[in-house]
């Protein structure tokens, strides 16, 4: 397969950026690379490989000449068996690290096989260059399988990185931050709708986290709060029994001789505080900041508007639920 000399849209050619990167690689990983690393011929990529073995260990021989892999043994084991165009990783690496490269800073542009180097050496982290590299070198072990485990420490440098790629994901990191005009090919009207969607979604996610809906539950007199996921319940009965179980420890402690808290068929949950003779009432704070009695509105509307729950002493809930109070009193 011929080496693709792509017209690099940023204006860099592969060879120049590759040489740059191979220079940097060979100069810095002195602890692991063998001494023949003086060569920086474009095709002899062995020298550009960063082998993360223990200091002083022999770099294993590579069997595929043009292969670019930075975790030599591991990749052989994975049996990729690829014969990629030699510039693949580094080309993409070069492109991704382009903002680093053209900053003229002395940062590295080396590609991890998971292609996340752009994050390791993002422009903002000026000090994130070498120190992280050292860290990666030292922390690597010959048994290190997954590329993903390497960038654990530099992760804080990530600015806008998607989820850390899994081991096999190569070349999946985002492009250099410099946006190409008209790419990806999306119409402008669609861009506008998307950005507004995104803003709304991230707001929503901050509050509800699609898929789960954790709200704090406090109980008067309990020393600490709990959190429940409203999405796992389907109706009021389920949540009230769950809350009872969750908070029973407090009431049992207080009313040791009488044991189990009461339960009834109403859709409010009540925990009997037998010692004090008053019962608890479940209330919630809604989106507008008002405290409401749980059970009035349809379940779905409740989950949509509930921000936190509070198990209130009945005596305090006079304004909220006079009916409930009377019921409680009539039973105790």
């Amino acid at each position: 397969m011929s080496i693709p000399l792509e017209h690099n849209y940023i204006g860099l050619t592969e060879t120049s950026s590759m040489e740059r990167s191979s220079d940097k690689l060979s100069s810095s990983t002195s602890s692991t690379l063998s001494s023949e690393d003086g060569k920086t011929s474009a095709l002899n990529l062995k020298q550009t490989e960063l082998r993360l073995g223990l200091p002083g260990s022999e770099s294993p021989e590579r069997n595929s000449g043009p292969g670019v892999s930075l975790f030599g043994k591991e990749l052989e084991d994975k049996n990729n068996g690829y014969s990629p165009s030699p510039l693949k990783n580094l080309v993409s690496g070069a492109k991704r690290g382009f903002s680093d490269a053209i900053d003229g800073s002395d940062k590295w542009v080396f590609s991890l096989s998971n292609g996340s180097e752009a994050d390791l050496f993002s422009p903002g982290g000026g000090n994130g260059g070498k120190p992280s590299t050292q860290y990666s070198c030292l922390s690597a072990t010959p048994n290190m399988k997954e590329a993903a485990s390497v960038p654990q420490s530099p992760k804080p440098l990530q600015e806008k990185k998607p989820q850390v790629p899994a081991a096999n994901e190569q070349g999946s990191a985002p492009a250099a931050k410099a946006q190409v005009v008209g790419w990806p090919p999306i119409r402008s009207f669609r861009k506008n709708t998307m950005t507004s969607n995104l803003a709304k979604n991230s707001d929503a996610e901050g509050k509800t986290g699609f898929g789960c809906l954790y709200v704090k539950v406090s109980m008067d007199g309990a020393p600490y709060l709990r959190k429940v996921d409203l999405k796992i319940y389907n109706n009021y009965v389920e949540i009230s029994s769950a809350l009872e179980k969750m908070f029973s420890c407090f009431t049992i402690g207080q009313c040791s001789s009488h044991g189990l808290p009461g339960r009834d068929g109403l859709n409010e949950s009540r925990l009997k505080d037998l010692l004090h003779g008053s019962e608890y009432v479940l209330t919630y704070e809604d989106k507008d900041g008002d405290w409401m009695l749980v059970g009035d509105v349809p379940w779905e509307m409740f989950t949509n508007s509930c921000r936190r729950l509070r198990i209130m002493k009945g005596s305090e809930a006079i304004g909220l639920a006079p009916r409930a109070m009377e019921k409680c009193k009539s039973r105790s």
Partner: protein, 584 residues
């Protein structure tokens, strides 16, 4: 209104042929039933009689490139046209690759039409520049005007729409789709006269200002034939419900925003309104839809064939639940917020699916990005064997995945895959994506449209040239290794009509290898390639019937031809070219 015309004299040589003794009127009546413009072109080439009969009987003309022909030539050839479709700017103008004020102004066409096509009824424009004055001129010049579609056009404001609403007494269709419009206000809707009842199609989904809801409600009530209604985001659920009551016969609905809170009673009323809409085939809008209110839609989904969720950032769960109610779906547009899990639900629930478009919700990666991967696409291909049109934006892909996909769905006619990082290889093997597209062109013999992406060498283009014999449109970006790639395509794809290329290493040799071919194509676009001004000049000199236009970017090398647009034309070079367009 049939202007008189001379009957052609028959040569003695022709008199023995059946065609020449066939009365022209009968031939015209027969040919009037031929609708497809390709067929009509073929008909016109049979003989002179047929050419004449065809031109007199043609009522709809489609012009794919407004500069390929002049309005005068069109009206001279086709005297009885009632419906015109015109496309203007090159498609890459959608992605800001064409500077503003490039041209494609409808004005000169309208002036000629006003003189010759008094009975014009329909005008459908895509990527044209339309001013408010043009719209007013249109509204006033054609008393029988019925249908206006503006798609991806620019240059006008809502004032122009007001003119249309005010003056077009017989309007049946007003379709304002995805335009770069100066949205001043929603007053235009109130300009429809109170006695106006003919509207059948109303689409203002992409306008941002509030319209007067009462005016809209009255309009919808009195237009008894209304079957397509697409409202904008400012229409609330409650208002939508009132509209649905007025128009239960809708076949296409675009909802407003799905967000505002409803009481229980309002929610059940909404659900009931949707259940009355049993004729819905097309549903769109649903912006800001959440799991909470989507179930109200379920009753309306039974007969849905096209569901457009590209404005609704749904998650996989609620999306999957919705799909269960849409068994007859043939076309589906979604955002990648549904993720692979959502696409698996597509595969499970939509066996009749023919078209899938997955748009990226966050193309510039400003948030936490997930999106879809190759597995979602594979899942769809297993479940939807009739799939033939796909547009798929993703961040990772493998050759093996695409090979599987086309094995499952060999009938692709449109395959548009966009791996969003330029030059990205197969993420598992690190190879170029050549094998993927090779599999596509080899397996999908009916392929007419292809858009490639990812890291690609010339091999992809060799295969395209060798196997894609039905290919008509090819879009290429950041791909290829040398001129050879483009040469293969130009040499091999017999039916190629549109070729658009950006940021590829194709130079003069490639450009010139196809110089004879360009006359059989609609157009060629090459931007940020390696073509030089000299190459373009040479092409222009060799092929006088092609328009070779170059747009240069500021600060670029004098010899480089940054943006090249080549198209065939019988109208000669443009007379309205702006200064930055150099016609060679």
């Amino acid at each position: 209104m049939d202007p008189k015309r001379k009957k052609d004299c028959h040569d003695s040589g022709e008199s023995t042929r059946v065609a020449s003794t066939f009365p022209d009127e009968v031939l015209e009546r027969v040919l009037a039933l031929v609708k497809s413009h390709k067929d009509r072109s073929s008909v016109s080439l049979v003989c002179k009689d047929w050419y004449d009969a065809e031109r007199w009987s043609r009522t709809h003309v489609f012009i794919g490139n407004c500069y390929s022909v002049s309005p005068e030539i069109v009206v001279r050839r086709f005297p009885n046209v009632r419906s015109v479709t015109l496309k203007g700017k090159p498609r890459f103008s959608d992605f800001n690759l064409v500077p503003p004020n490039w041209g494609a102004d409808i004005r000169c066409w309208l002036v000629v039409f006003a003189a010759k096509y008094r009975c014009l009824e329909e005008l459908r424009l895509k990527r044209m520049t339309v001013s408010d004055e043009s719209l007013e001129f249109l509204a006033l010049s054609f008393p029988n005007f019925k249908a206006l579609l503006l798609h991806s056009c620019d240059g006008f404001s809502t004032d122009g729409l007001a003119a249309i609403a005010t003056h077009c007494k017989n309007l049946t269709e007003l379709n304002i789709q995805e335009n770069d419009i100066y949205d001043k206000s929603g007053c235009w809707l109130s300009c429809f006269p109170e006695n106006f009842t003919s509207l059948e199609v109303l689409n203002f989904a992409y306008l941002n200002n509030d319209v007067n809801f009462e005016a809209l409600e009255r309009l919808v009530s009195r237009c008894k034939s209304l079957n397509v209604l697409k409202v904008n985001k400012n229409i609330t659920l409650e208002q939508l419900q009132r509209l649905l009551i007025c128009a239960p016969k809708l076949t296409e609905l675009g909802t407003g925003s799905f967000l505002p809170e409803l009481t229980d009673r309002q929610y059940s009323e909404l659900k009931r309104s949707f259940s009355i809409c049993s004729n819905l085939n097309v549903l769109s809008g649903l912006s800001e839809a959440t799991a909470l209110y989507l179930p109200a839609l379920y009753p309306a989904c039974t007969n849905l064939t096209f569901l457009n969720l590209s404005d609704a950032a749904l998650q996989s769960e609620e999306f999957a639940k919705l799909l269960v109610h849409c068994p007859r779906l043939r076309r589906l547009w979604v955002l990648d917020t549904v993720e692979d899990k959502g696409l698996e639900a597509v595969g499970s629930n939509c066996p009749l699916l023919e078209e899938l478009r997955v748009f990226p919700s966050d193309p510039y990666e400003e948030g936490i990005v997930h999106g879809v991967t190759e597995s979602g696409f594979i899942a769809v291909s297993y479940g939807c064997r009739r799939l033939h049109y796909v547009l798929y934006f993703c961040r990772q892909m493998t050759n093996a995945a695409v090979e599987t996909i086309v094995q499952n769905c060999p009938d692709f006619t449109h395959f548009r895959l966009c791996i969003m990082t330029p030059c990205q290889p197969d993420y598992r093997t690190n190879e170029p994506m050549d094998k993927a597209f090779c599999a596509v062109v080899k397996t999908c013999t009916k392929l007419r449209r292809l858009a490639v992406s990812g890291l690609l060498t010339d091999m992809t283009f060799e295969y395209i040239g060798k196997y894609a014999k039905n290919l008509e449109t090819l879009s290429v970006a950041f791909a290829g290794s040398s001129d050879w790639g483009m040469q293969c395509v130009l040499g091999g794809c017999r039916k190629l009509r549109k070729l658009e290329i950006r940021d590829c290493p194709f130079g003069n040799a490639a450009l010139l290898s196809g110089f004879e071919k360009y006359e059989s194509m609609r157009s060629l676009w090459m931007s940020d390639c390696k073509v030089t001004m000299n190459g373009c000049r040479f092409l222009a000199k060799e092929m006088p019937r092609l328009n070779v236009e170059v747009m240069k970017e500021d600060g670029s090398d004098d010899s480089q031809a940054d943006k090249v647009y080549v198209y065939r034309s019988v109208a000669g070079p443009r007379r309205d070219a702006p200064p930055f367009v150099l016609t060679l």
